[in-house]
Amino acid sequence: MTIDTPRKLTGVRDRVDLIYRGVTRSGGIIVLVIMLAIGVFLGLRASQAISADGFEFFWQQAWEPDAGKFGIAAVLIGTILIAIVAVSLALPMALGTSLYISEYAPLRLKKTLIGLVDLMAAIPSVVYGLWGFFALQGSIVPIAKWISQNFGWIPIFAVDGYDPNDPLSTTTVFTSSTFVAGIVVALMITPIMTSIMREVFSQSPIGEREGALGLGATRWGMIRSVVLPFGVGGIIGGTMLGLGRALGETIAVYMIISPVFVIQPHILQNGASSISSLIALKYGEASAFGMSALMAAGLTLFVVTLIVNFGASAIVARSRSGASS
């Protein structure tokens, strides 16, 4: 042994092994082809509109593709606003629910609740949409009104066209808003966020939990010092995943919002927009060019969601609780 170079480690591969690798690899290839085909399809269909529109596409607010005036500024911001409202409502709910299941719930209840959360994730979006439109909207208007009256000085809570001193003033300005859509989407993403967070919380090390309790910490003290720091990756990951879903939610948003094609920063006010509901609204009667414009919007949504997703996996992978999304 005079020369110290790495030796090539080769061996005769088993035939079974070769077939096995071949089969799994072909599975990967098939999936890749399908996924790329969708990407290419989206890109191709979108290219017509984007090339016709140029940079205008990014800051134009109107959506009149057939009049040559269209852009994603309003719909994209609308989408993001709905998602932000949804996530900021869903985050505390999911956090509370997951902490409850992992830390407070008695053993027997735990199982049932986990099943319930799974079931909740499966309630079809059309049901949430119907519920939001028929049941929620009416009861949420007083809250929106209250918020706008007391916090209207914060620009996003301002509402034009409502005069609280006029008894005849209609409350329709508070309906079909980003806020209402956000609440419904929040309910839709809470289960998936809950299930991810709960999973991570339940993995937090027993040793550290006991260490904290052994020092005389209360249950909340233990959660604060052990469970939450450990689960921070899961919290962020779950939130980002929820955000991703919130961005892409279609039917429920479609059934609630009153679409407008200007940037609508007042979240409590009637009028909102979202890319996926725009596609659902317009694909039916779109001309060939209009379809291309819709595809371009879909592509934008896709890219945005992509960024969110990658952000999530990067953060989660770096955290202690690891890849648990």
């Binding site: 092994d17 999936v31 609740l113 499966a122 709960r198 027993i206 694909y283 997703n309 996996s313 648990s324």
Partner: protein, 436 residues
């Protein structure tokens, strides 16, 4: 471990030894578990007092000072006041961390209850609106081909949509389970730049808006290939949507299987395929079931992909390849568009049926995933036998492996329901040092 052959200890003599310094109090002590966490009068008083105070104050605010309006506003204000009052009351005889603990405990419970109450509310809403339609047996046994907008609820039903949903999700699962699992295995077993690329693309695709999945199938299969709108086309659209979710979830689950397990198997001379088939997949089983459930949950309830691909029919059609085939979410979507109250009631009833169907599917999936005690025990026995062999073959130092296996269930997302029990078990072993 040495077999212990001495006669059973005479408890009294042992205790006599132990009680050298102790007064003979053991007659008084009945050996029954003590109630340690009892509710104290002051706790009850502080809670009820806080509730009463909060309600009173809120009523005062709402009736006298500022009519903010709305029952919801009332409850929000009352709840905040309750929390504050409760914190103050507790702080009278407890330290600050305990006050915080109590307040956060209440807050966590509240949030959980809000979430589950909303679930109940959503479900109850669909059922109550659909209540006119649901009690009729024909709603579950007939299709809509003989029931028009003017017909009463005693005619027509949604069996066509139920069967359509089952067939579509069945085909979609038949496509996504093998393909998704193969791909997930590929991502785990054949590392390299190519699999990293595939993983990246798959993760990207979980972001695919569901309507785009529908548009894709519509544009390719129906417009370019000229096929009919059919249940099969809808299944393909659902598959496209489910596939990334499935792959991603099962990829994570497979990654969580400890490499020691695989190494042990390979160390025994098993090939990669056998290791995967006999070791990795069974270990990850419940996690994979969860992956399937997650994907199914997403696929069965989506309206937008089937909206473009399945066509619409009111008639029963069990042939996924010819003619339109309606599924439950699409049926809901179409029913509620109608101006006729009976159709809208049918729509909500259909939504309730859909939720029921999902529930049944989940229960079945969990059963297959192995949640019944008998099954779990049986499987555990098999696994123990299998692992006994591997562990003993792997030699000393692999004793940890056994524990690793025992705990893996709790690591996997799918072991959710089992996790609690496993945790209990591992905690006991941790405490009582029952490990070898």
């Amino acid at each position: 471990m040495t077999v212990f052959d001495t006669p059973i200890v005479n408890e009294e003599s042992a205790l006599a030894d132990a009680a050298a310094h102790e007064p003979p109090t053991q007659e008084i002590h009945h050996d029954v578990p003590r109630k340690i966490h009892v509710m104290r009068v002051s706790d009850v008083l502080s809670i009820s007092g806080a509730v009463a105070a909060a309600l009173a104050m809120t009523t005062l605010i709402f009736t006298m000072l500022a009519p903010v309006g709305g029952i919801v506003g009332f409850l929000v204000v009352a709840y905040i006041l309750f929390l504050v009052t409760y914190a103050i009351l507790v702080s009278f005889d407890e330290t600050w961390p305990i006050v915080r603990d109590r307040v956060f405990s209440v807050a966590v419970h509240t949030l959980a209850i809000i979430v589950f109450a909303t679930l109940v509310f959503v479900v109850a809403f669909s059922i109550s609106r659909g209540l006119d339609a649901l009690p009729h047996l024909n709603f579950f046994t007939e299709d809509m081909s003989l029931a028009g907008p003017l017909d009463p609820l005693t005619k027509g039903g949604v069996i066509h949509a139920i069967v359509g949903s089952l067939i579509q999700i069945g085909i979609a699962l038949a496509i996504t389970i093998p393909l998704g699992l193969t791909t997930a295995v590929f991502l785990n077993e054949v590392p390299g730049p190519f699999s990293r690329f595939v993983r990246t693309i798959v993760e990207a695709m979980t972001a695919l808006p569901s309507i785009v999945a529908g548009l894709f199938i519509y544009a390719t299969f129906i417009l370019i290939l000229g096929l009919d709108k059919s249940g099969f086309a809808a299944s393909l659209a659902i598959s496209v949507m489910m596939l990334p979710i499935m792959i991603r979830a099962s990829d994570v689950v497979l990654r969580l299987v400890p490499s020691t397990l695989k190494e042990a198997s390979i160390g025994l001379g098993a090939d990669n395929f056998r290791t995967m088939w006999k070791v990795t997949l069974p270990t990850a089983r419940s996690g994979l079931v969860t992956a399937i459930i997650l994907a199914t949950a997403r696929g069965i309830g989506e309206t937008s992909p089937v909206l473009l691909t399945s066509g619409f029919t009111a008639a029963f059609n069990a042939d996924p390849f010819h003619g339109p085939m309606v599924s439950l979410p699409l049926a809901v979507f179409q029913f509620v568009k109608s101006p006729e109250p009976s159709m809208i009631a049918r729509g909500f009833g259909t939504a309730a049926v859909l939720m029921l169907l999902v529930l049944i599917l989940f229960v079945i999936a969990r059963m297959i995933g192995g949640e019944t005690v008998a099954k779990r025990e049986k499987r555990a026995q098999t696994r123990r036998r299998l692992w006994g062999a591997i562990v003993s073959a792997a030699g000393p130092g692999s004793a940890l492996l056994g524990r690793g296996i025992a705990r893996i269930g709790s690591r996997l997302p799918g072991g959710q329901a089992r996790a609690a029990q496993e945790k209990l078990r591992s905690q006991i072993s941790h405490v009582a040092k029952e490990a070898k």
